[in-house]
């Protein structure tokens, strides 16, 4: 059931912050070279999640900041994640009211499209800088991330669902 039809208690800024700390931790784990393509980008996933569900508190500015952090952590060109994250945050925001009422599996499809777009942007930047295409397995992580969308969404709203109706 989509989040917008349920009675939920408000999310604190601290919870959003902690969720990003966790996402960063997962992204910074020492992945093996062979599996690095399959590692879903949890920061991107959470950016979509919070833009979708808390558009007032979380927006493009935060997406940009997190992108910068990811760039430095990975030793990439400064700005590639920032650009990709800003754009997916914007696209989510522009259709937020529609997407927020979709069931989770449809949201997962949209997430897949957004994550692929983010990766394509980064790929494009690298190609413009003179790198060579590194094969389609580059996009595998997004596929995995899209599969993780429904469980992730359920997990996140479990926190919000607690003991709300009693007070009404």
């Amino acid at each position: 059931m989509p989040i917008s039809r349920q009675m939920l208690r408000p999310v604190g800024g601290g919870f959003i912050f902690m969720s990003f700390i966790c996402a960063m931790l997962i992204n910074l784990l020492p992945w093996q070279v062979t599996s690095v393509n399959f590692a879903p980008d949890f920061v991107a996933l959470l950016i979509i999640y919070w833009t979708l569900n808390q558009p007032r508190r979380f927006g493009i500015a935060w997406a940009f900041t997190l992108g910068l952090l990811m760039d430095v952590a990975d030793g990439n060109l400064l700005g590639q994640h920032a650009l990709a994250y800003s754009i997916i945050a914007y696209l989510t925001l522009s259709r937020q009211r529609q997407i927020a009422v979709f069931p989770f599996w449809q949201q997962a499809l949209i997430t897949l499209a957004l994550l692929l777009l983010a990766q394509s942007i980064m790929l494009l930047i690298h190609l413009l800088m003179g790198a060579q295409f590194i094969g389609w397995s580059y996009f595998a992580g997004s596929l995995l991330a899209a599969f993780l969308w429904p469980p992730l969404s359920n997990l996140m709203i479990m926190y919000q669902r607690k003991d709300v109706p009693d007070e009404l």
């Binding site: 952590a73 990975d74 590194i134």
Partner: protein
């Protein structure tokens, strides 16, 4: 930023929330995209953002440490639980080896003294033993386009750009970016990374190129009749002033000499376990080379 600009509760009370979105997302995304592109260009072409990067990396260091700590703890725990008998056997074996090594060390000392004497005579500095530091690999760069490692020593530990990274069996790469707590090592398999080498068997000088993380190294621009064959070991030649001479780099795995092409296709396998270890040795670059003689033509481009 978004936190302070849009006080959520206030707005809900005064306005129908349906129409209100704050500043237009389109203008915001345009601003941030422009900023990103400016950063990209600034970083790629002018390298002027080193300070920004340093600040952010200090911020990130605790996270990096926490992310790698459990893995390290698990590895340490498993090694702690090694079986006693194994340790005893190993201990005995090591004792034997130590005796042997001591004997060799005595000879080495004599040689070293002799060497120092000769060096003083020759006044050459390039073979001086160099300072080196042991550093731990924090993680692989996630970026699949390049081959980079992040290690746990940085500016504060005295790491400098241009230091080379080794493991027990050969050259791993070169420090390309130093941050206060961490630094980035570019692996020799990174695309376009060049190492000046020579064939150990016949001292034939050439350059070995990286061609992407999972790919083999390549020796380009060698004529088909060059004396190089599978199994040859390539060692650094030391003529670039970055890599000291004599370090093993790669072993030639395949040589293809096609009739049509001007160059032989030579593939090599790096000797160092580029993807395997957790520790690397960072070694200082050689002392500055004497300048080129003034009469010489334009200097050759150096490998990096």
């Amino acid at each position: 930023m978004a936190f302070c600009r849009i006080p959520g509760a206030n707005m809900q009370a005064t306005q129908p929330t349906f129409f209100k979105q704050g500043p237009k997302p389109l203008t915001r995304v345009l601003i941030f995209s422009t900023l990103s592109v400016a950063l990209l260009v600034g970083d790629a072409y002018y390298q002027m953002l080193a300070r920004v990067r340093e600040q952010i990396s200090v911020l990130l260091y605790p996270l990096q440490w926490v992310a790698t700590a459990p893995v390290n703890a698990a590895l340490e725990a498993s090694s702690f639980l090694q079986r006693q008998t194994e340790l005893i056997a190993e201990n005995r074996q090591l004792n034997d080896e130590r005796l042997l090594a001591q004997g060799q060390a005595m000879r080495l000392k004599a040689l070293e003294a002799e060497n120092a004497h000769l060096r003083a005579l020759k006044q050459a500095s390039e073979h001086q033993p160099r300072q080196s530091q042991l550093s731990k690999i924090l993680y692989n760069g996630r970026d699949p386009f390049g081959a980079k490692l992040v290690v746990d020593l940085g500016e504060r530990a005295g790491v400098k750009e241009g230091q080379i990274a080794l493991d027990a069996s050969g050259v791993v790469g070169q420090v390309v970016r130093v941050q206060p707590m961490t630094s980035e090592v570019r692996l020799i398999s990174d695309r376009g990374h060049m190492v000046p080498v020579m064939v150990e068997r016949n001292q034939l000088r050439t350059v070995v190129y990286g061609s992407g993380r999972q790919n083999l190294l390549e020796v380009r621009n060698m004529p088909p009749n060059a004396d190089i064959k599978a199994g040859d070991v390539l060692i650094t030649s030391g003529i670039d002033g970055i890599y000291p001479p004599g370090l093993p780099v790669a072993v030639v795995s395949k040589v293809e000499r096609t009739a049509g092409s001007a160059f032989a296709r030579i593939q090599c396998k790096p000797l160092a376990g580029i993807d395997q270890h957790r520790f690397l040795l960072l070694m200082n670059p050689p002392a500055t080379l004497p300048p080129y003689p003034e009469t010489s033509p334009t200097p050759k481009p150096k490998g990096h």
